[in-house]
C-alpha cells in the first residue's frame, strides 16, 4: 500500500493518477491509491479517524477501498473534516444555505486546489468542450463575488482555461441574474452567429427563461450552442421537472436537446459527474458518470451493500481528488445502478416532506 508521508506526496500521486487516466481510462491503481489516502486521512483528519475507530474500520482492518468508512455529506456542516492544520485552510468552499449551520464547509489549500483543478478540467472538457469554439455565458457570479462557492470556483477555472473565448458572468453575489446583460450577450452571439454555451444552476435557468417569457424574447442560438445545467433550486425559483426545464431551454433559447448536459457535483466533492457528452446522442435514461478517479456506488440503505444492477439506493462516491478532506462520501441522493453509470432519482427527504421543500443546492 502507498504510504504518504506528506500532503504534497498524496496530492502529487493523485494528480499523476488523473493524468494517467487521461491516457488510459482503465489505468490500474485506483484501489491502492484510495487505501493510501485512507491511511493518510485517518492519520490527519481527526473527526474522520474518530468515526473509523468507532466503527472499527481502521487501516489495520480495511483491505478494500469499498470498506473505507463513508462520511455523510451533511457531516461537513458540523465538523471540520480536513487533514489541513487550521493555519493552512486557505480556501473554504461552502454549500448554500440561509444560516452558517446549514452550510457545509470544505477546506482547501493551494495543493489540494491544484488537485481540484486537475480533476475538474479534463472531465469538463471531455463533456462540454467540442470543436465549436463557443462563447461562454455563466449564469453564476464571478469568483470575486462568491468566493466560497465551489461551482463559481469551477466556472472560474473553466473561463481561465478557455481564456481565448469571449465570456460573461451574468449574476451578482446574491445569485441574481443580470438578465439584461445575459440577453445582450446572447443577442450578440446570435447576430454574430457565434455559438454559445450557457452554464448555470437550474434555478438560474428558470430565472432567465422567466425573464425571456415576460419580455417576449425567443432566441434561436447558432447551431453548436450548448447548455450545462446543474441541479438544485433551494427555494430560489419555482421548481421545474428536469425534462420540462430542458424543453424550455430548447424552446426559448434554441439549444438542441442533445446539447444540454447535466452536471452533478457538490462542494463536498472535488470531482463531478456528467450525464452526456456534446456530440454524442443521449440514450434514455440519461446516466451520470464520474471520471475514473472517482467511483460511484449505489448501496442499499438497509445494509449499505451494493445494490444489484437496475436497483435503486443511496449514492456513495469515493473521490480520490478529495485528498485534503474525506475521500469516501455518502450523499443525500437516491440513484439507480446501471452497468455504465447511475441514474439520479431524487434527494433523500430528511424531514417530514409534507409542506416543506427540501431540495438542497449543495454545489452552489
Amino acid at each position: 500500500m502507498t504510504n504518504f508521508t506528506s500532503l504534497t506526496e498524496a496530492c502529487d500521486a493523485v494528480s499523476a493518477f488523473i493524468q494517467r487516466c487521461a491516457g488510459d481510462p482503465n489505468a490500474d491503481g485506483f484501489g491502492e491509491l484510495a487505501l493510501g489516502l485512507f491511511v493518510f486521512q485517518f492519520a490527519h483528519n481527526t473527526p474522520f479517524s474518530n468515526l473509523c475507530q468507532a466503527e472499527n474500520l481502521t487501516p489495520e482492518t480495511v483491505g478494500d477501498w469499498r470498506d473505507i468508512p463513508t462520511v455523510q455529506t451533511r457531516a461537513f456542516k458540523s465538523l471540520d473534516l480536513s487533514v489541513l492544520p487550521e493555519a493552512d485552510r486557505e480556501t473554504l468552499f461552502r454549500s448554500s444555505g440561509t444560516t452558517p449551520v446549514d452550510r457545509s464547509r470544505h477546506f482547501h489549500c493551494a495543493e489540494t486546489l491544484t488537485v481540484y483543478h486537475a480533476s475538474l478540467w479534463p472531465w469538463f472538457a471531455g463533456h462540454l468542450v467540442d470543436e465549436s469554439a463557443n462563447r461562454l455565458l455563466f449564469l453564476v457570479p464571478a469568483l470575486g463575488q462568491a468566493p466560497e462557492s465551489s461551482l463559481v470556483h469551477m466556472m472560474d477555472i473553466v473561463a481561465k482555461r478557455l481564456t481565448k473565448r469571449e465570456h460573461c458572468f451574468a449574476a451578482d453575489g446574491q445569485w441574481r441574474i443580470d438578465c439584461q446583460s445575459a440577453v445582450d450577450f446572447l443577442h450578440d452571439c446570435a447576430t454574430q452567429n457565434e455559438p454559445v454555451t450557457i452554464l448555470g444552476t437550474a434555478f438560474s435557468f428558470v430565472h432567465l427563461l422567466d425573464y425571456l417569457d415576460t419580455e417576449g424574447i425567443d432566441f434561436q442560438l447558432p447551431s453548436g450552442s450548448a447548455a450545462m445545467e446543474t441541479g438544485g433550486y433551494k427555494g430560489r425559483s419555482r421548481e421545474m421537472p428536469r425534462p420540462k426545464l430542458h424543453q424550455a431551454i430548447t424552446a426559448k433559447l434554441g439549444v438542441a436537446s442533445g446539447r444540454i448536459i447535466c452536471e452533478y457535483g457538490m462542494c463536498e466533492l472535488s470531482s463531478q459527474a456528467y450525464d452526456g457528452k456534446l456530440g454524442q446522442a443521449n440514450a434514455a435514461p440519461r446516466l451520470f458518470r464520474f471520471p475514473p478517479w472517482a467511483r460511484a456506488r449505489v448501496v442499499s440503505p438497509e445494509t449499505l451493500a451494493d445494490v444489484e444492477l437496475g436497483q435503486s439506493g443511496l449514492l456513495q462516491v469515493v473521490d480520490l481528488a478529495n485528498v485534503g478532506s474525506a475521500l469516501s462520501l455518502q450523499t443525500e441522493d437516491l440513484a439507480r445502478r446501471h452497468a455504465d453509470g447511475f441514474e439520479l432519482l431524487s434527494r433523500v427527504e430528511l424531514t417530514e416532506s409534507r409542506g416543506c421543500s427540501l431540495m438542497n443546492l449543495t454545489h452552489a
Binding site: N50, Q72, A75, S78, P301, E302, T303, Q330, L334, G355
Partner: protein, 451 residues
C-alpha cells in the same frame, strides 16, 4: 362471506373509467339513498350497526380482517402485526356508550339529530346535517377514514370517500363490512380512488358535496381550499407533529420499565406514521432516570419489540432517510459532538438517537426516535416555540398529580391533546382532532326561538 371478489364500490373495479358525470351521478344516487333510508334511522339503530361492524373487525377469524392482514404491506402500508394492533386499538373504542358520549359531547342532547330539543331561554335547536360529505382520505393511516365514515353515518349524511390511487384497500374492506351488516347504510357510501388534484373529478365531487373533509399535507388542504366554492364547508386537517415528555420522577412512580415500555408502544404503533406519533421524547434531567440511560434502555426495548411486532419492509426512500440520518449522527457520536446512537443491525428496523441539542427534530419515522434531555417544562416550551402551531399531541409520563401540573402550561401554550405516554396513537373516539369538535364542524345548527 365473501367468497366472491369485492365488487360494490367504484374502487373495487380496477380500470373503471371515472368521469366528471359519473362522479356527479354517483353523488346524486348516494344523496337519494340517504334521503330515502339513512335519514329515517334513529341514533340507536345506526350506533348498533356501527358496533356490530366493530365487533366483526375485532374477531380474529373475520374474513375481511384476515384479508386486510394478509394483504401486501405495500398496499396497506403496514406489516400484519402492526396493522392488527392498530385495528384492535381503533375498534375497541367503538362501543354504544362511547358513540352516545360523542353525540352528547357534540350536541348536548343526541335527539337534536332528529328534532328540536330545548335550550335555555325558551329556544330550541336541532342539527342540520350535510346531505353529502366528501372525504379526501389520508394516504398514511386507515383509522381516521373509518372514523370519518362512522361520524358521517351518525350524522345521517351520504358520503363519498376519495382515496389516493392504489391506497383504497382497507377503506374498501371496511365499506364491505358495513355493506354486510347493513346494506342500506352502505348504499349511502361510495369509495373511489384517483390521484389527488384531478380537477375534472374533484370539481364534480365538490359541486355535489355540502362539506369536504381533508386529512393530509398542508399543501393538499390549501389546494382544496382554493378550489372549493365559498358556500361549502371545508374541514381540513393539515400536518402536525407530536412528542413525548418524561417527568423526572415518572420512573419512581411508574417503574422504569413501564415508562420505557409506554414509549415503545407509541413508537411502534403504526410505525410512527401519522401526526400523533412521537418524533422526540424529552426526558427531564436531574431525576433518577438519566436521559441517555433512558435512550439506551429504549433501544433494548425496541429490539425486543422488533421480535414480537416486526416493523416490516419500508420503501427505499424511507430507508434512505433513516440511513442518511444515522450516518450523520454516527460521526457526531464518534466525535462526542453531543449525540449517541443505537441501531438495529443490518437493517433500518429501529434507531434511537440521544442528542444534547434540545430543539425539536423531525424523525425520518419508521421507528426512529430522538431522546433529548430537558430541564423542565418551561424550557421545553421555550425550545419548541418554532413548532408551536404544529403540535398535535404530547404523551406524558408522570404521576397523576404531576400530569395535571404539566398539562396546564402545555394547554395554555397551545397543545390540543395531552395524554399518557403509551396512548399517543390511541385517541378516544370523541377526541377533538387538533382541538376541534369532531362532529360540530360538519353540521349547521337550526334554532327555533319562541315567544
Amino acid at each position: 362471506m365473501p367468497e366472491q371478489p369485492l365488487d360494490y364500490f367504484l374502487a373495487d373495479k380496477p380500470g373503471a373509467e371515472l368521469t366528471h358525470s359519473l362522479i356527479a351521478e354517483a353523488s346524486r344516487t348516494l344523496r337519494r339513498n340517504r334521503n330515502e333510508y339513512l335519514a329515517t334511522l334513529g341514533n340507536e339503530q345506526i350506533i348498533s350497526k356501527l358496533v356490530e361492524v366493530a365487533n366483526l373487525w375485532r374477531s380474529p377469524d373475520y374474513p375481511l380482517r384476515q384479508m386486510a392482514l394478509d394483504a401486501d404491506p405495500e398496499e396497506t402500508g403496514f406489516p400484519r402485526e402492526v396493522l392488527a394492533a392498530g385495528l384492535d386499538a381503533c375498534f375497541a373504542d367503538w362501543t354504544q356508550e362511547k358513540f352516545f358520549m360523542l353525540l352528547t359531547q357534540e350536541f348536548g342532547d343526541p335527539t337534536r339529530l332528529q328534532s328540536f330539543a330545548s335550550q335555555p331561554n325558551r329556544t330550541y335547536s336541532m342539527v342540520n346535517s350535510p346531505p353529502l360529505i366528501a372525504h379526501i382520505a389520508p394516504g398514511n393511516l386507515p383509522v381516521p377514514v373509518f372514523q370519518s365514515i362512522a361520524f358521517g353515518l351518525l350524522l345521517r349524511s351520504a358520503q363519498f370517500v376519495k382515496c389516493a390511487s392504489g391506497k383504497s384497500l382497507l377503506t374498501r374492506l371496511f365499506g364491505h363490512s358495513l355493506h354486510f351488516v347493513e346494506p342500506g347504510m352502505a348504499a349511502t357510501l361510495e369509495i373511489a380512488e384517483w390521484d389527488g388534484g384531478n380537477e375534472s373529478l374533484e370539481s364534480a365531487l365538490f359541486a355535489e358535496a355540502y362539506c369536504v373533509t381533508v386529512n393530509g399535507g398542508d399543501k393538499t388542504v390549501e389546494s382544496i381550499r382554493q378550489r372549493l366554492p365559498l358556500a361549502k364547508t371545508l374541514v381540513g386537517y393539515g400536518h402536525r407533529v407530536s412528542f413525548g415528555y418524561v417527568e423526572k420522577q415518572a420512573n419512581e412512580v411508574m417503574g422504569t420499565q413501564t415508562v420505557i415500555s409506554h414509549a415503545a408502544d407509541d413508537i411502534v404503533a403504526w410505525n410512527q406514521h401519522g401526526c400523533l406519533s412521537p418524533h422526540v421524547i424529552y426526558v427531564e434531567e436531574n431525576g433518577s432516570l438519566n436521559p441517555a440511560r433512558f435512550a439506551e434502555m429504549l433501544a433494548v426495548e425496541l429490539e425486543a419489540r422488533n421480535e414480537t411486532m416486526p416493523r416490516g419492509p419500508v420503501s427505499t426512500r424511507e430507508a434512505a432517510a433513516i440511513s442518511t440520518a444515522r450516518r450523520f449522527y454516527k460521526i457526531r457520536a464518534a466525535n462526542n459532538a453531543g449525540a449517541m446512537l443505537w441501531e438495529s443491525e443490518d437493517s433500518t428496523d429501529w434507531t434511537v438517537v440521544h442528542e444534547d441539542e434540545r430543539q425539536f427534530q423531525s424523525s425520518p419515522l419508521n421507528r426512529f426516535i430522538f431522546v433529548k434531555p430537558i430541564e423542565h417544562i418551561d424550557e421545553a416550551l421555550h425550545v419548541l416555540e418554532p413548532i408551536r402551531e404544529s403540535v398535535s399531541t404530547v404523551g406524558l409520563a408522570a404521576s397523576e398529580a404531576r400530569m395535571r401540573d404539566l398539562a396546564l402550561p402545555l394547554a395554555r401554550w397551545g397543545v390540543p391533546r395531552i395524554c399518557p405516554l403509551g396512548q399517543m396513537q390511541r385517541p378516544p373516539l370523541a377526541w377533538r382532532h387538533d382541538g376541534r369538535p369532531p362532529l360540530g364542524e360538519l353540521i349547521r345548527w337550526a334554532n327555533l326561538e319562541t315567544a
